[in-house]
């Protein structure tokens, strides 16, 4: 998203650039409806490779929107994710901004 778009006053400024990327946005949407989601569940919903999902989730974690929980070791190991309070707020705001854009058309 360009700076011009962000400041155009047309509603784009309310869109969060971190979660506007389609894969991250869908991941946030899944997480918004769950207390906790496993890596495998997200991977199947997004239909992407392990490495791609890891990259997307790292970006969300770095932004403070997602908390990661790892349990077990070896073959039994599992990774799960949950939205942080900041992540939930950001997702709601982003969704509302998208709806507002639709309303303005």
């Amino acid at each position: 998203m360009s700076e011009a778009e962000r400041t155009s006053g047309s509603g784009f400024g309310d869109l969060d650039p971190v979660i506007h990327a389609p894969k991250r946005l869908v991941a946030m949407a899944v997480l918004s409806s769950a207390d906790q989601v496993t890596f495998q569940f997200l991977k199947e919903r997004l239909g992407i490779a392990d490495s791609d999902l890891s990259k997307q989730m790292s970006a969300l974690e770095a932004a403070g929107y997602v908390a990661v929980h790892k349990s077990g070791r070896g073959r039994g190991a599992s990774t799960s994710f949950k939205l942080t309070r900041a992540g939930r707020t950001a997702y709601r705001a982003h969704r509302a901004a998208l709806q507002a854009l639709l309303g303005e058309d």
Binding site: V26, A29, V30, A34
Partner: protein, 160 residues
């Protein structure tokens, strides 16, 4: 951003938000009987605890010896559920209207059935309470899962 793009993006979001509720694997066959057995044992223990059929010390010991492992089973169940289904849907917050209706029905039916079982427990021996609760809980969950799956299918179809 074109309005069609926004509309498509919001539709994707709605589908993704519904996923934890409607993209669940079916429960294994043992789940409903195990659910019934757990509730049956707990109901029997509770009824026994309040009865005077055995000495109070024994009642306390039996209660503790059974309730602690049964509580531990709840923890094991939570861990299994997370691993098996992959997502723990939120009980609070927005959810597909079809699923919200099923949740409401579940909680209402649960209260009615639980009240009926408590009433029964006042009239019959503890082992009858346990047996009836086990069968009722088994049937209750089996019926709930069928109703839930129908609602989930309706959501999947609506959002397809």
């Amino acid at each position: 951003m074109e309005s069609d793009d926004v509309r498509a993006r919001l539709h994707d979001l709605e589908r993704a938000e519904a996923a934890p509720y409607v993209d669940q694997r079916p429960s294994p066959r043992w789940f409903a009987p195990a659910f019934g057995l757990w509730f049956g044992v707990m109901a029997a223990v509770q009824d026994l605890h309040w009865s005077d059929e055995i000495d109070s010390t024994w009642r306390a010991l039996v209660t503790v010896a059974i309730v602690i492992p049964m509580a531990a089973l709840v923890g094991a169940y939570s861990a299994w559920h997370q691993r098996y289904h992959g997502a723990l849907p939120r009980l609070v917050g927005p959810k597909p209207p079809e699923i919200r209706r099923v949740y409401r029905l579940y909680f209402l039916a649960f209260v009615v059935v639980a009240a009926a079982l408590v009433g029964l427990a006042l009239l019959v021996p503890w082992w009858v309470t346990g047996a009836v609760t086990a069968v009722v809980a088994w049937g209750f969950l089996a019926a709930y899962e069928r109703i839930y799956e129908r609602a989930a299918a309706a959501v999947r179809e609506r959002l397809a």
